[in-house]
Amino acid sequence: MLTLTKDRALALALLLIVAVMWVESGNIRPPTSWQPYGSALFPRILLVVTGLLSLLILVRSLITGAPARTEPRRSFVQWLGHNRTVFSLFGLFGLYAALLPVLGYLVATLTFLVTSLGLLLGIDSRRKWIINLAVSFTLVPLVYVIFRFGLNVWLP
């Protein structure tokens, strides 16, 4: 059975993207007498290049075979557990982006910083909490003041 290596996953994902974008490029206004090359030519050249290079990576990875494992194979749950910090941080950032317009800069950013610092530093000691709250409650208002009053940029 074929293993889904990083190269194969990359190539397949890109080939899918290329296919979707190629179809979408059909919606671009066609060439006219005063725009003989049209707006679709440049992206289509790039899509062909991207597709060919992805195909090359796929073929090469099929010929060379899957690289030898240096670590034992992990189940999906184990793999999620191994990378939980990174994935959680991505999740927290996504949540932050979603909550920013709802809660406003000060509340949303404070929540994001306190939570993500708690995630990375830990919450099992008083010292960690002091660092967490000191960093969050100093930086968030400071950035607000710099942008709002120093640079005249409105924050949500």
Binding site: L10, F42, T50, L100, V135
Partner: protein, 505 residues
């Protein structure tokens, strides 16, 4: 030349701009001294603060970060034995042993002095060659510029450490990203029915997302794998000024050679401080009468390393300002700053914005002086700051990236762009795709398309790209760089295979 330089010097010497350069240098040194933070990240974090500034102030702040950042690696390199930035790896080879031998102040002092001289020499190179190359490139027509951009992209892709195909793929993806939204003919492309995509992606959130997320998450993964062990450090440092003057007196040739190597390498696309660092260290060792002392704490090693990586600053500005082609990531971001302020880097910049060009020269010079003062006076504080744990840095930088992206247009959609490209950048990085060609593709994409179609509108034959000598030369160089990289890739694979087979024989 003298007139615009004096005018620029007058503007840069105003208290507010000087204060910005000081802030930039301080932030750059701090960024460069924190292992895993890098000069590029420092520049990215400061970039949004320039939005509301006039071009001279914004560029001066960024140049300050640039100068400080390239010298900041000395601190953690000497005190912790960990290079603060990849461009100060060889500083560790001799700086750390010297510090371990009880002379951290001497190591830091030599490094700072070499860094200062390297920056000065590179500014001289920039002042001399920048206008020359710009005036030569005034003859470039759309065919030459198209071919030059293709050459720069293939060169950068080819230098992606044994991953040519992925490097080329990254460059193509970067170019593809710039095709979203309205094009030069006001035709809509790849909006997928979403009105927000109509105006395309802003360069800044795309760049920050791709670079910052992958690097920050990479730092976290490294921390997890290393179980987060941080060394303690003795920050009580005294600088022996007399000894350093004597040391530097015996390093004149080494300083000049290393600075010139740094300037030259900095001017080549896709190379940057790390390459300059290794070449210069290697050359210093080869020219030395005592090569056996290298790696054991010799001043020659520190001088070679620090003079070369700081000299990259001036050299890297040459292609960016003169040709509008950034050679590396920090320069791509610097170009983004200029574009944001309505200035298009390229040969015309020397004619249309001479004062701004002069301001860059002046900021580099003033930044170098401020860098020496800051480093010598505040070194023990920088050593302490370099111990800030990644667990604190990562969320703070992510927050600053989000606010920076928003502040660009007061648009929350840009934070989503940052996030989505952050995920894409992280996944590509995990798949071993080099991200520098991708970012260069994003920066150069619009210009490439514009120049390509301008060329075809002037002459519909594609063969003109091959019949014009300079255009043909650049394209031939692009092909040669791909072939050379393929050869290098094969050689690396062959060596790896041989190394794998050796134990079995």
């Amino acid at each position: 030349m003298a007139d615009f330089f004096l005018q620029a010097l007058g503007q840069v010497s105003s208290p507010s701009v000087l204060a910005l350069i000081v802030i930039g240098v301080l932030f750059g040194i701090i960024g460069g001294s924190i292992p895993g933070f890098t000069v590029t990240m420092a520049i990215l974090v400061v970039f949004p603060f320039t939005f509301a500034m006039d071009p001279v102030s914004g560029v001066s702040l960024m140049v300050g970060v640039f100068v400080g950042g390239y010298s900041g690696g000395i601190v953690s390199g000497v005190m912790l034995g960990i290079p603060g930035t990849p461009s100060s790896i060889t500083t560790v080879y001799d700086g750390y042993p010297m510090a371990q031998n009880g002379e951290p102040g001497r190591a830091l002092g030599i490094g700072v002095a070499a860094s200062f001289l390297g920056t000065l020499i590179s500014v001289a190179v920039l002042v001399f060659f920048g206008p020359l190359i710009a005036s030569f490139s005034m003859n470039f027509r759309p065919w030459e510029i198209t071919a030059l951009i293709v050459f720069a992209l293939t060169l950068v892709a080819g230098l992606s450490s044994g991953a040519l195909i992925k490097g080329l793929l990254a460059a193509a993806l970067g170019l593809l990203i710039t095709t979203v939204g309205y094009d030069r003919n006001s035709n809509l492309r790849f909006d997928f029915g979403l009105p927000a995509l109509g105006s395309g992606f802003e360069i800044l959130p795309v760049m920050i997302g791709i670079f910052a997320f992958s690097q920050l998450m990479g730092n976290l993964e490294k921390l997890r794998d290393e179980q987060g062990k941080i060394k303690g450090v003795d920050t009580s440092v005294t600088i022996p000024y007399g000894r350093i003057l004597k040391d530097m007196g015996s390093q004149k040739l080494n300083t000049l050679r290393s600075s010139l190597i740094g300037s030259l390498v900095g001017a080549l696309p896709g190379t940057g401080g790390t390459v300059a660092n290794f070449i210069s260290y290697d050359q210093a060792k080869k020219f030395s009468k005592h090569p056996e002392t290298f790696g054991k704490g010799t001043p020659s090693g520190i001088v070679a390393s620090e003079a070369s990586n700081s000299a990259v600053a001036g050299g890297a500005f040459v292609p960016t300002l003169a040709l509008g082609i950034p050679g590396d990531l920090p320069m791509a971001i610097m170009m983004g700053v200029l574009i944001l302020h309505g200035i298009t880097p390229g040969p015309l910049m020397f004619e249309q914005n001479p004062v701004l060009v002069g301001a860059i020269y002046a900021s580099l010079l003033i930044g170098a002086v401020i860098m020496v003062l800051c480093q010598l006076l505040l070194v023990r504080w920088f050593a302490k700051i370099s111990l800030i744990p990644q667990e604190v840095l990562v969320p703070v930088v992510l927050m600053l990236c989000a606010i920076g992206s928003y502040a660009l247009n007061n648009n929350l959609f840009d934070i989503w762009v940052l996030f989505v490209f952050g995920v894409i950048g992280y996944l590509l990085w995990k798949a071993g795709v080099p991200l520098t060609p991708l970012i260069l593709g994003v920066v150069l994409g619009n210009n490439l398309e514009r120049q390509l179609f301008r060329a075809l509108e002037l002459d519909e034959s594609w063969m003109t790209f091959l019949t014009r000598p300079l255009s043909a030369l650049f394209l031939a160089l692009a092909v040669a760089s791909v072939i050379f990289s393929l050869y290098q890739d094969r050689k690396i694979q062959h060596n790896q295979l041989r190394a794998r087979n050796l134990p079995e024989q």
